[in-house]
Symmetry: C2
Subunit: 225 residues, 2 copies
DNA sequence: GGGATTCCGTACGTTAGCGTACATACAGCG
DNA sequence: CGCTGTATGTACGCTAACGTACGGAATCCC
């Protein structure tokens, strides 16, 4: 019933203690959980939902630096002793999550060494993911990056089909809408995906993996280790 | 004598305990402290030295994601429960540092809540720095990014002059050497810097701040808060 | 079912940065 | 003093992506 793998990794006792404080919620597409500089009111452990961390630049431009699914959590700054987020957290895929009020969470966190260990380790993989994404955005072309992004999403939602417009993908990848359209066309012509009006279907996962840059594998291996 | 601000912030008792375990070292330009996937043998708290964190892509391309001076430390993965670094740590400015063997450090770390608090907070600012750098590398032109890089270095070495070739800067900014040369020429013509054969002098700091992107100020404010 | 809205296709000139190659010039060293 | 390596200047064609604009088409909503 709690589908988040960070929580699932906890031993029975700690796990049951925590459950009491959680509130199941349904996150809807486009919802903004935090803005930069804003106080973090709740932490979220996604189940079937998907949350993007976005860095903002020059007011309007956005770039995804991290992607959080059932393998992660939002509200990392709390764990590190800060009350505010440095980035925007945006619900990118509607679905379930378990949330907890920040103060309650911090009490539980301080009480459970096992939870601390899990979350610190998670933070390391998140940092590594952010670093790799930075290099990827710098060196690889849009088509490869789009393929990577679709694969990462595919991994987390565990479905071949998800809702996602080109416009939105542009904000994630930090490129124009038209740039996404061209890359998506190329992938569609190669029969790796198909799409229509905000509805994307992964047709050939292996093909996508061949079309993307090594960054995908590098980040995935880090999560699995 | 220990010039690192993370250490200087510790209260007297904890501070003196720690000092015993430190070994003062001189880091020389170009030295590689860690490679990705490699076990971390020592942690380093820079004094006058400067260490870059580089993400590698496609074997040969490099991109700086973090810059560590007297306000930081290397070996963050240890603090988060990992023994290996995910990035390359390269000495970018020769100078002093205090180092400690990984095992010794971890014992001290577990023993000192105050040290834990300091370092976790540092990790948050480092993450924010990496995120902002990612967006900066995506959206801003080389000239602005070069100005930012020079300012960040200037802040940390506390000297108007430092050694740095265009080739090397290319690896930091993830661009060709020629790209750096063009950007540096532009800054020199505007009398903001002067340079010659690996020797860069900051002439007009305020001018540089006007020439760079807002990212510089954003990251700086985070460190000061 | 008509109108508005959202989403995608296409097009055109512009530009930053790429890859590469070669020329110059200073610096240290024997 | 000349040699050799390292650092910087310059040049040229090329391409990915930009900014912008407009048309078509599916979907939603009264």
């Amino acid at each position: 019933m709690i589908e988040n793998s960070l929580l699932a990794a906890l031993p029975g006792a700690a796990y049951r203690r925590l459950l009491a404080g959680f509130e199941p919620v349904d996150l809807s597409f486009g919802e903004i959980l935090y803005e930069p500089g804003q106080t973090i009111s709740h932490v979220y452990f996604p189940g079937s939902s998907l949350v993007s961390l976005l860095t903002l630049a020059d007011g309007h431009l956005a770039l995804e630096v991290g992607l959080i699914g059932r393998d992660g959590m939002t509200g990392v700054p709390l764990v590190l002793g800060f009350k505010e987020s440095a980035v925007r957290a945006l619900v990118q895929g509607a679905g379930t999550a378990s949330r907890m009020e920040a103060g309650v969470f911090m009490r539980e966190f301080r009480r459970s060494p096992r939870l601390q260990r899990e979350l610190y380790r998670y933070i390391h993989t998140l940092m590594a993911q952010i670093s790799q994404t930075a290099a990827c955005n710098r060196f690889h072309v849009v088509e490869q990056r789009l393929a990577r992004w679709l694969l990462m999403t595919h991994d987390r939602v565990k479905a071949d089909r998800f809702r996602m417009t080109h416009e939105f993908l542009g904000h994630m990848l930090g490129v124009r809408r038209v740039g996404v359209t061209k890359a998506a066309q190329a992938l569609q012509q190669r029969k790796l995906i198909s799409y229509s009006r905000g509805d994307i279907t992964v047709l050939d996962r292996a093909g996508l993996e061949a079309a993307t840059c090594p960054c995908y594998g590098i980040v995935k291996d880090m999560h699995d280790t």
